[in-house]
Subunit: 337 residues, 2 copies
Amino acid sequence: MAIRVMHFGLGPIGCAVARQVANRRDFKIVGGIDVDPAKVGQDVGDVIGLERKVRAKVAADAAAALETLKPDIVVLCTQSSLSRVLPQIETILAAKVPIVSTTEELAYPTSVNRKWARRIDALAQEAGVAVLGTGVNPGFVMDALPITLTGVCERVDALEIDRIQDARTRRLPFQLKIGAGLTPEQFLEKVESGSVRHVGLAESISMIADAMGWKLEYITDDIAPKIASKPVSSEFLTVKRGQVCGIIQDGIGYISGQPLIKLHMEAYLGAPESYDAVRVTGSPNLSMKIVGGVAGDVATASIVVNSIPKVLVAMPGLRTMRDLPIPSYFGGKLLSG
Amino acid sequence: MAIRVMHFGLGPIGCAVARQVANRRDFKIVGGIDVDPAKVGQDVGDVIGLERKVRAKVAADAAAALETLKPDIVVLCTQSSLSRVLPQIETILAAKVPIVSTTEELAYPTSVNRKWARRIDALAQEAGVAVLGTGVNPGFVMDALPITLTGVCERVDALEIDRIQDARTRRLPFQLKIGAGLTPEQFLEKVESGSVRHVGLAESISMIADAMGWKLEYITDDIAPKIASKPVSSEFLTVKRGQVCGIIQDGIGYISGQPLIKLHMEAYLGAPESYDAVRVTGSPNLSMKIVGGVAGDVATASIVVNSIPKVLVAMPGLRTMRDLPIPSYFGGKLLSG
């Protein structure tokens, strides 16, 4: 029996997830939900750029679609903010359907978001289903994977995690999100307004701290522009010398006054090497590197799809990557078509 | 409330686990079991090389000790072979006590061992407790960690995993186990008799194949001597040119006639670089390296101890690293003493 999936939110990430679901065994797309009038009423296959119809439409009214289609799971890819997706989650849980979401703030409850997380946990328990927030980051490279490495440690003193990405090969919205092509002044304005920012460092730091049994005092999350020292271009845009080519963001978790969890991200056009790295200081020390890094969009879509079978059998409530079984590829083979 | 731990088997690994249990918060050693008459009757602290007594004795009779001491968990570190530890496991499960074991063949049921695994699973379910086999390898670097990486893949075509260790810094029994100092002829005799061999490649390959949803056709497991091209020595022994300085072992899992899971181990005195590496071929490709590798004994002892709280709340039955929550350090801090 195929797992019947409804896709709530068909932006770039929602579409990437839906394409995997369409092309993998054991899944069936039963419907889509989107606010965009241009998408509503279309076949999901057309909206996500498949070569074929999937015989499932995009609707605007989530509650009605849930009632009619009775999916086994909803993939929720709409917004980053927990308070803003809360009404959507309430609608889905009212239909007693489990959720996998790329909402960054759902990846782990921070102290700021704890009240929303508690409410979602209570609603999910009432509905008897599990809710999971996941993705490549937050959800994997800067939290679940480093935590996994500490499983072989008898003592952990500190963690440092780097994610360095050459953004030249990423999609245009990502290049814009990191501020590429802006002047430094424009960049700072966008940081102030919150439109240039990676969401998730506080979530990753909180997940690590809880896993280590450390009581966090506070978290800092600082953003700086990466300034191009020479012209650099991607398929989509060109950045002049002195303009912003991307973002540098540092999240630090302090415990007993010490910066024990350090997350460092650089994403800019022209980074000489993409990689993910984890250094655990403790016994033993561990130094891990993923050469080339873990590609953002395909990895996020993959971990969402791979998590679906685990969420279907998880304990009801708000779950995190900390309490699910180890991540793993699911599905065996792609359909030949 | 401290977790009350009984240590069944006080060889080098059992002692390493017990030392961590003695030195970490939230655990209490309540007893030891060993066949060695020189250890029976001693305080566990003396046997494991602590500077202090732990006020718990080593006993020879497991059933009686379990009955009297009622531990929360037994750490079983006796033998590699599932059929040989089966009577010990039966004794422990008769007392309805959960188990974490370093028995390599318990790390994952291979087709050869399936009947023993089924029996243990049935007994554990009857007892209402969980049984886990774990360690650094099998249990982590060549199975659980590579599987975790595939969580960000939309397709997996093949996995290659390397574990290269300079054995100069390892304990003497390990150096002897890999055949260091033997002539090539002696080495081959010991391979034939089964005394020179890493146990666990078939277990790791089976775990990966099941996680990927691949049906294994067969597994090969081949051992070759590493011959010293120049003299090399450790703290304990010297190997002449032309003698064996260690072991090369290759495990391969074939699916549809293809070698899709390749595990390659080298452990020898004088390896120029120790590391663990995973390459996933698929979408996306992934290439991970742990520089310096994951140290064997401390990592095995650590993952055993870190797994205890997870096993205590796991579903009854024979569990594996595939179905437990992600590995993580447990315990917060070492006691200052």
